[in-house]
Symmetry: C2
Subunit: 176 residues, 2 copies
Amino acid sequence: MKRITFLIVITALLASAVGFTAPASQPGDEEAEPIFVTKIPSGYRDWKLVSVAHEEGDLKDIRAILGNDVAIKSYRDGKLPFSEGAIVGRIAWRHVPSEENNKVFGREQSFVAGEAPPWYLQFMVKDSKKYSATGGWGYAQFDKDGNPGPESDLKKCFPCHQAVKDRDFVFTRYTH
Amino acid sequence: MKRITFLIVITALLASAVGFTAPASQPGDEEAEPIFVTKIPSGYRDWKLVSVAHEEGDLKDIRAILGNDVAIKSYRDGKLPFSEGAIVGRIAWRHVPSEENNKVFGREQSFVAGEAPPWYLQFMVKDSKKYSATGGWGYAQFDKDGNPGPESDLKKCFPCHQAVKDRDFVFTRYTH
């Protein structure tokens, strides 16, 4: 009887531990693998604007951050955490001077969106169950040809996004 | 007879000159006044993205260029001139460093959308008849409170946009 109780407790603890560290893993999995988004969300280029940004350093890009309707609603309502199904995407282009515009302005002042950088698209998809191991968000990035980024890169997303855990892990603020 | 021919020629030349400089004027107008857009087009914040840009110089802004459905269709179809009813808008924000992002990156590299600059919104509205004096586009700008810009500023729009007459006077290219 004691042995049976012991086994039940151990089983419960294990189940709990598995549930905590890797809820999406299947029984029998040796190690819990993070889950990432592997398909480009359809229609993203039609989504509404969240904001814009410009990254220097190694990136040297100019970017638009867009949201699907669920994400935009959460943003506009100031709802945290974001509703299930929310997707935030960012499109990046090389930050390049516009000779055409500069001619009109009469000086070097204008920068526009150029070619796609190596990681053209990034997304975070809200699904609290599926992506519970990474704060309820699944991460993804794609090159211009639609090829997904390597898992080694994607594993860096969540640790970095923890800096804004109080905003449900979303860096970009909606700009009115 | 010579005198009558002379008068006809002069009248024709005058009509032509008036037609060239101010085709939207009505018969009897003393002076043709340019026509500008005085109301913010409704729903612009929900429009689809055309592209993004960054202006230095006196502007120091980061901006999103959006289009209503008619404009986006013309852009995507590569249709020139733009269809009647097309509206291209741009929202500008101060180009400001993001301390929050820089902390995460570990260096100064990130710029985001800050406060509204003096001229927060600009639009060009396609109506070939109404705005025939300015290439078929009506121009507008508004501050954050929705106040329209002075006509003295708006009169500068069309002369400048003539630099891209071959793209139907629209500077911004759609970026895929």
